[in-house]
Amino acid sequence: MPTTEHLSKQYDSDLDALRSRVLQMGGLVEAQILAAIEGFSTGNPELFERVIETELRVNGYEVSIDTDCSHIIVRRQPAATDLRLIMAVSKTVTDLERMGDEAEKIARMSKQIHERDRLKVQRFGQIRHAGNIAVQMLRQALDAFARLDAEQAAQVVREDMTIDDEFRSIVRQLVTFMMEDPRTISSALEVLWIAKAIERIGDHAKNVAENVIYIVKGTDVRHTRFEDLEREAKS
């Protein structure tokens, strides 16, 4: 859905294709994170394999989308919205790739935990809860990107605060576990890494959402207070 028509139809379809590819990459990362979190809960080794396999495809997407971006810049000399779109795409792709890395991290840690299988961390439901929030943030951020919807993007930024709270509460619980029984320390630390990875996924989703606001409104809302950002998104 181009906001303005260009004289060259090809240019429009190039931009459309670029957006679609970013969203497909996002879908891949979404599935990857879901698989990683489910793997943490169930310990299914197939899921870990899938996460690690997907990582390669995500990396491939990152490189090829970045190449597409520079091609469009060279050939079309985009301006205004188009330029913002391309710059935002380039940043979003990096964020998505990092999320993929975090998912892989979760999968590797979970695999270790399950292979050792000494501690009842499988039942640590709060991780899955936080993970679901993170995936939902990513989903919303991508939806906002597809629809160029700044208000929905602002909501994602708000959600990031929830996930930060979740992270803090997980840390508190883990500390309690470790104090109760020092034998759980190594596993608890691994769970902590997983929680941190989820929190990072939330941060990256927030970045994607901020990029959407940048495309639509043309203002850089990174590192601003949430109230300012929300006002900007609604303006």
Binding site: D16, R19, S20, L23, G27, E30, R123, Q136, R139, A146
Partner: protein, 474 residues
């Protein structure tokens, strides 16, 4: 007079008016012969009428005056025609069906025809609009999600089910490539592969987690129909059936293995009587566990095949509740605080043994999963609108992901624990069946670490006024 609209100028107007084809469009375009004749007659009449004053003028004032009068008359007549032509053109520029211009003479016929044609078009338009509405209503009512995609896989139309299942908006998302919003890699791959002979399966987690079976049907030129069927329930039934067979075998094999192990030991080794008695005791324990499992399985299948529980047999709830409470005290052995809070002097209608055993089962679970010193509350509420029985405990609680599966056969939240407390894994399945037969529902709420509440609700038609007079039993 050249200002009369020529017959061949009409189809152009008709063509410009509407984009779609109409079977009866041409009906209004044929110029009836009498109209043509009347145009001719009127033109001649006008000429004759002009000739009369011209002749009189010529006789009175000479030839020049006669011609001047004739020319003046012609001017007036052509002015009249020019004005009507102007009105026609104005109207054609902005056709309003309710405001076709009116005039007299030859123009009246032309405008009347136009008016009739407009009316017919308006009716046709309404009919088509109704048709479109009816079709889209039918599309909306389909149980499957339906999305129409164009040649570039962009969303053209979708129904409400598709909106809910894919998280798309049928109004604002029109024109979006479908893969921008339905991003599951499985789906993207299926759509791109172009082989639509079979459906693809994908999971969506928007709102509720669903399993969807999606099928693409290409039609017309490059258009595609995307159907999404919800197979969550079917998939669950499938795993349940698979799990059931695996579970029955597993549940029966475990005690059997123990049993054969001991049997071999007893047969091969010479044991002192004490040891032997000990082993025998354990074997008996395993045998009785198998017995319990088989009993429960038989109970379940009996419940499944038995006729409807009676509608005319009153279950004396007061007595039942008192006996349930006594059973609970006995099972707990004083380790829990057990309270009964009953209000409403109403009885249930149905099979007493089934109802009592279902409720007893819930209480047993509550006691079993509450640590010593915990609390178990039995709450009975009954009125003419229905009755409810709730068991609240302060036990270990249940993680939310287990709750929907609790009533499945052999489903265990924590397998080791359930077996060590003597469960067969069939208790809640039996409860659910017994309750379903009484049109009752079972609601489970739980918070891990805090406790659980199991609530049974009986509908009004399973409730009857009690025999006893006292209203409250505590």
């Amino acid at each position: 007079m050249g200002s009369v609209p020529a017959p061949d100028s009409r189809p152009r107007h008709a063509r410009g008016e509407q984009g779609w084809k109409q079977p009866c469009d041409n009906a209004g375009l044929v110029f009836p012969a009498h109209t043509l004749n009347s145009v001719l007659v009127q033109t001649l009449t006008t000429a004759a009428w002009l000739a009369v004053p011209a002749l009189i003028g010529r006789l009175a004032f000479g030839a020049d005056a006669g011609w001047a009068l004739f020319a003046g008359g012609l001017l007036i007549v052509s002015g009249y025609h020019a004005r009507n032509l102007r009105r026609l053109l104005d109207w054609l520029g902005n056709p309003d069906p309710g405001d076709v211009p009116e005039a007299s003479g030859a123009w009246d016929d032309a405008f009347a025809l136009l008016h009739r044609r407009e009316r017919r078009l308006a009716q046709e338009r309404q009919r088509l609009a109704r048709l479109v509405v009816r079709y889209s209503q039918a599309g909306r009512a389909l149980p499957d999600g339906v999305v129409i995609l164009d040649g570039d896989d962009r969303i053209v139309w979708c129904n409400g089910k598709a909106e809910a299942r894919f998280g798309i908006d049928g109004k604002t998302d029109v024109g979006q490539p479908i893969t921008n919003l339905v991003r599951q890699p499985e789906f993207v791959k299926y759509l791109a592969a172009g082989d639509y002979t079979g459906p693809a399966q994908l999971k969506t987690a928007r709102g509720a987690a669903l399993s969807l079976s999606v099928q693409i049907i290409p039609y017309d030129d490059a258009q595609k129909l995307l159907l999404a069927r919800d197979i969550t329930q079917a998939e669950r039934l499938d795993t349940m059936r698979r799990d059931f067979v695996a579970n029955v075998s597993h549940e029966l094999r475990t005690p059997l293995t123990v049993l054969t192990g001991f049997l071999e030991t007893v047969r091969e080794l010479k044991l002192d009587p004490d040891r032997a008695r000990n082993y025998m005791g354990m074997m008996a324990g395993q045998a009785s566990r198998m017995q319990r499992i088989i009993d429960d399985l038989l109970t379940l299948s009996a419940l499944e095949s038995a006729p409807q529980p009676p509608w005319d047999r009153q279950v004396p709830m007061r007595a039942v509740l008192d006996s349930l409470c006594a059973d609970a005290e006995a099972l707990s052995g004083g380790r829990h605080r057990i309270s009964l809070d009953a209000q409403g002097d109403w009885d249930l209608l149905g099979a007493e043994s089934e109802i009592a055993s279902a409720l007893r089962n819930l209480i047993t679970n509550a006691i079993r999963y509450s640590p010593a010193g915990g609390e178990v509350r039995l709450i009975w509420r009954a009125s003419a609108d229905g009755a409810s029985f709730a068991v609240e405990d302060s036990g270990v609680g249940i993680e939310p992901e287990h709750i929907p599966r609790l009533t499945e056969r052999f489903y265990r939240v924590d397998s080791g624990r359930s077996r060590e407390t003597g469960g067969t894994g069939l208790g809640l399945a039996i409860v659910k069946h017994a309750l379903l037969r009484h049109q009752a529902s079972l609601q489970i709420e739980s918070e891990p670490g805090k406790g659980s509440r199991f609530t049974v609700r009986f509908p009004a038609r399973r409730v009857a006024a009690g025999h006893q007079s006292s209203g409250v039993t505590v």
